[in-house]
């Protein structure tokens, strides 16, 4: 096996594993949702968002920065949790040991409280003159 073959083979296997893990996570999360996601507390979630440091990549209001935008109007809690536990991109995995399900629910509740964006045309400097 050449080095390249080995690397690409490994990449393929890992990609499939990641997909499988993600799908399992999604199913598990969905099951949890159907059984009832933990009730989140937005105030606590805001504090956690700061303490854990979500804002480092996603901005203080979830608007994005080094990482993608995650608020307002976040993805559903099951998808949110599934991704955090088993991320597919550059984000590291956050296990239940470092962020509990309840804490994730609180953070998700906080993201839901972030107000919707104003329309760009309502801001004079952003007004589209074309």
């Amino acid at each position: 096996m050449t080095c390249n073959t080995y690397i690409y083979g490994t990449v393929r296997v890992m990609a499939l594993l990641t997909l499988a893990i993600w799908l399992c996570g999604s199913r598990s999360a969905l099951a949890q949702q159907s059984g009832g996601a933990p009730a989140g507390k937005a105030d606590n979630g805001k504090q956690l968002f700061n303490d854990i440091g979500c804002w480092q990549c996603h901005g203080y209001e979830g608007q994005g920065g080094a990482g993608p935008k995650i608020g307002p109007d976040p993805i559903s809690y099951p998808s949110f949790k599934a991704y955090i536990r088993h991320p597919r991109g550059q984000m590291p995995p956050y296990t239940e040991k470092v962020v509990t399900d309840q804490q994730l629910a609180d953070i998700h509740a906080f993201l839901q409280t972030i107000p919707a964006s104003p329309d760009a045309d309502s801001i004079p400097l952003l007004k589209d003159d074309d």
Binding site: M14, Q56, G59, Q63, G65, Q90, S117
Partner: protein, 633 residues
Amino acid sequence: MGKTKETAKESTAERRDFIKLAAGGAAAMVAGARVLSAQNPAPAQMAMANAPAPPAADVSDEYDGMITERPGSDFMVDVLKSLDFEFIASNPGSSFRSLQESLINYGKNTSPEWLTCMHEESSVAMAHAYYKIEGKPMAVAAHGTVGLQHAAMAIYNAYCDRVPVYLVLGNTFDATQRRPGAEWVHSVQDAAAMVRDYVKWDDMPISLGHFAESAVRAYKIAMTPPMEPVIIVADSDLQEVPVDPASRLRIPKLTIPRPPAGDSGAVEEIARMLVDAENPLILTGLLGRTQNSIELVTELAEALQCNTRGQAMPSRHPLNGGNARNADVILALELTNLWGAVNSMIDQLERTERSNLRPGARIITIASTDLYTKSNYQDFQRFQEVELAIAADAEATLPALIEAVKRLITADRRTFFADRGRKLAAAHQAADERARQEAARQWDLSPISPVRINYELWEIIKDKDWSLVNGGRGANNWDFTKFYQRIGGSGGAGVGYGAPASVGAALANKKHGRLSVSIQNDGDLMYAPGVLWTAAHHRIPLLSVMNNNRAYHQEVMHLQRMSCRHNRDLTTAEIGNVITDPNMDYAKLAQSMGWYAEGPITDPKEVGPALRRSIAVVEKGEPALLDTVMQPR
């Protein structure tokens, strides 16, 4: 050391005679000099040859062995003037004291003018960015030991960024001439050894004639693509000992080589691949440092109606953009990280990587970096397989490539290209609209969003002749069309570049009357904040808007990643990485060094008015700093 130095120091008596001869024979000693530069004629270059001989009474027997009016450093000044340096940046040091005095008194402190710097890293970074605006090197003087040690990271940045910086290092090679103490610890056998891995060439001349030849050679090497820093060691005895009137000193003519263009057959092959491609993509790396290169890249993109990205492509051009995933042919011009442009690596415990290329995609490169690579420092990035590589200067190759492309475009292809261009323009417009709505989302955030700063600044500068000299990541709403409006980053990602680079670039912009704008990271400024004083002292107009996010945020994210990976506490990631408790007051820091400054500003509504006040100061010729407390990234 060589014979010349020995001759100049044989005995005290000989030395006295030598000085007398030097005093009387000043005009003759460079009689044979030919100090002409075809590219850069320097008006003061023959100063020494033309200077009237001093009256013999100036050096009476009373001062035998104590005075010389023609030190070797005067001739070194002639050499530097012949190379048409506008400035020499330096933190003063005894190993080049004679050269400094000669530059100021003999050289009249013009061409080059001495810039007082507070740190050698600042000197080099100033020279680095100055080149990217002015297109010619700035000289830097430093101790061959401690000064070079300070300068090392900035030299590495310039090396990675393919920028010529011209360093003159003081050193005392002859052990018998060193004063006890500091001069010994400031002396070195091989000064340039420490940075030889990341300079293109260096020499330690042992005579003034040798200095002249090597100084001109160094300039020529530095300015030949790929351009890089160079070093000339100016031995302190060579500087201080009188010029030997018997020597036939001359300064060689400088001829800068024309950069190599790609082979015509290969150029034709590339043109064919681009014209036949369904969706070609042009990536530009270190191209875009001349207006000509921007115009050529734009012409090629428009001829093909294809996506083009990078510094050489006007930012709001409808064809600006594109993604490697969609391209069937990729033309990479002077790209320093091709692998990273077409592959991804996931930063997990077990690294995974994937190609972002679509199956069958073909890559073509034109790069001068293929002509020169060193082994120790890994700035050459990961190896990427390509279909066709031309080791040549991309800017020199583009005219022939454009001509070949235009010649090969048939009527059918022209129709196809026009349709492609319309689709790409629509995609560009859609991306602009998404960015505008995203800006709205971030408009009233506090800490302030970088997007808010970008729009507020743009509103004020858009009708001025402006130059973004540092930072400004994400200023996608700005209309970059000129080479001096966007000069890129440090090259080596060595933090501490931004502040001195902005001052060096602003100095180059000064005589052109341009408004220089820097988005200044807080951590970067604190490496060597003394450069603020240099800007004030030399009346360098510069607007510095602080990206004050009170942390080394990239490092915080790395710590978070490690905590996640180690399955441990995440709340400790700020330890060692944040710049709080106490918060720095950058306005007071700047004010203490003679700047106009305001802040810290946390209310985004205050940004616009504060920017207008600061820019009014800058337009009067002074530096101004606005401390804005910002979102993390």
